[in-house]
Symmetry: C2
Subunit: 350 residues, 2 copies
């Protein structure tokens, strides 16, 4: 692909914005030479930061706006009042074709609401979902939803399963990813009505997907399935629990390896292996979750990340554009939906 | 306390029963000389196993029954049809005063249903909750509910907060444990109706407890609060996610430390520190969750544990009896409820 890609950046979203935003764009710009950036936000702040990176200046355009969505804004308030915010204008740039992807580290609820209203959902998808990939004992896996939809019915979960399948096939390069629904047990009678009904639909469905059944919390680390489907409340808590537990383990490992002279010596000798392990689990390497199910590529960065993490989120967006992900997901959804008119709803009505 | 304690054991519950049950009883019996065991189950299987441990035989009595609850039994079915099961008879032994605690590694739903019907809930508690303690970066914490109540309203969560507070004060020996509600964000507008309403009740409440507010998944590992309150669906998944992530991390650490001659040498030198770390995270050390809120001590062991883990669950039960836990929780609930007639319901009605 030789055409230049344009990525819209919410310059004011995130705890360490705009500093880490500009630093992240610089890092991603060096990896991807063929990308141009539209950075939305306060020119008085963004301008001087960008001047620190003269080599990428020709590929960066600041679009000034004084308005920004705060982390405390309700999604409905942001929708109504933040039409000139850096987040909203960056999304608009994708809708009007100026950019091929939008990346924001700002308020998740506001991003979700604005992106859904502006970009619209794909045919057959009633609510978009946040999806990301992360490491397991058995290779990377995809989990969704991670917080966009606090309460989900069976049809939502079935749609997440289909979108997660397409995402894993395209992004993790798996031929036929296996899909599990997160539950409190693997037996059919366990769980709430939504998961039981969704499992029933997927089991009886003629969709050409590999449905494993229910998985439990410990199956996340085991990598029992390639795609984990869950509601946004549980998914958000499960993903953050993985992050917190990995950090806790790293903390205790550090303490153990500095607890005595002997252990310090051992750690020094094993340092390259331990460093490799640390980098494998570095959450910045997995930063950048996609809002799946929209007419446009929208990537959410962790709000608390630094420039290295933000660069990774930008790269997630660039790669999705390069691989023409939205064309694939539309085709795959079309294909899947020839078997069932609207995914889930038909079987659910049985 | 010089009186002999009697513990009722469900001899047939758990994946590796009855072998790991008898092995676990033997181990616990050696730690606690003053305890007698009533083991319910198939005498033809339990008898020969017990003969392997002649030193504890005088303190163990097998009560024969051929009936056992299976893992696939629905709680309602178990309640109706399994009145002579090893699980039910062990619970009955607590109800009729023969034993002071019951320990089972069997079907959680059936145990919960039977224990609730037979032992009844404490005054002011509408539904019991499963609680356990486990390690964090900042000392042990208690989480509840871990799967007894798939869907919870605000009043249930408020009652869990109160019970968790009493548990942490008595079992973790904390003067004033802090309490958090697990949510997808710390801002008040985040989450589902139950967590928002429960937080509102606890914030406005005159209960003498230290309510921290919302915590997120990564706060579990950080040890931000001493008591984490959540519904049984989320709690079960979060706890198992902690377990699975710790196992995954241990797996990668093992791989890293055996990946080269250098790392193997380093690991050998640091071995005592690494072994200490491994034992700190050994899930068997944390096996044994209490069914909180019942008129009687009921401990649930992980179904997949071995005799070392089951021994730990038995010791949880023995220690709760020794510390007269149920007397404390009744007194504390009485005391707390002088401020609000029925915990939660008054404020909820505002």
């Amino acid at each position: 692909m030789t055409d230049q890609i344009c990525v819209a950046i919410d310059g004011m979203g995130g705890d360490n914005a705009p500093h880490m935003i500009v630093g992240g764009v610089n890092r991603a710009a060096h990896t991807h030479q063929n990308v141009k950036f539209l950075i939305f936000g306060d020119e008085a702040k963004l301008g001087p930061l960008l001047e620190e990176f003269p080599s990428i200046q020709p590929r960066c355009e600041i679009r000034h706006t004084a308005d920004a969505v705060s982390n405390n804004d309700k999604p409905t308030t942001a929708l109504r009042t933040a039409k000139n915010s850096s987040m909203r204008l960056a999304i608009d740039a994708v809708a009007n074709g100026e950019a091929s992807a939008i990346v924001s580290a700002g308020n998740t609820g506001a991003l979700m609401a604005m992106a859904t209203i502006v970009l619209k959902t794909l045919p057959g998808i009633s609510r978009p979902a946040i999806a990301t990939s992360f490491p397991t004992q058995n290779g990377d896996c995809v989990m969704l939803d991670l917080g966009a939809n606090i309460e989900c019915d069976a049809n939502n979960l079935v749609q997440f399963a289909v979108m997660g399948e397409v995402y894993a096939r395209n992004e993790l390069k798996l031929e036929q990813p296996s899909i599990g629904i997160l539950n409190v047990g693997v037996e059919g009678l366990k769980g709430n009505d939504s998961v039981k009904e969704a499992a029933g639909i997927l089991q009886k469905s003629s969709l050409p997907i590999k449905f494993f059944g229910f998985v439990e919390g410990d199956d996340i680390g085991k990598g029992t399935v390639d795609v984990i489907v869950t509601d946004g409340f549980t998914g958000n808590i499960a993903l953050k629990t993985v992050e917190g537990t990995a950090k806790m383990f790293a903390h205790f490992l550090r303490n153990a390896l500095t607890s005595s002279l002997m252990s310090k010596m051992g750690a020094l000798i094993a340092k390259p292996a331990i460093e490799k392990l640390r980098s494998h689990f570095d959450p910045r390497r997995y930063n950048g979750a996609m809002l799946l199910g929209l007419n446009g590529i929208c990537v959410k960065s962790h709000g608390g990340t630094d420039h290295i993490g933000f660069a990774h989120a930008v790269e997630v967006g660039v790669n999705l554009v390069k691989r023409d992900f939205n064309k694939h997901i539309k085709e795959d959804l079309d294909h899947l939906m020839t078997s069932e008119i609207e995914i889930g709803s038909q079987s659910a009505a049985e």
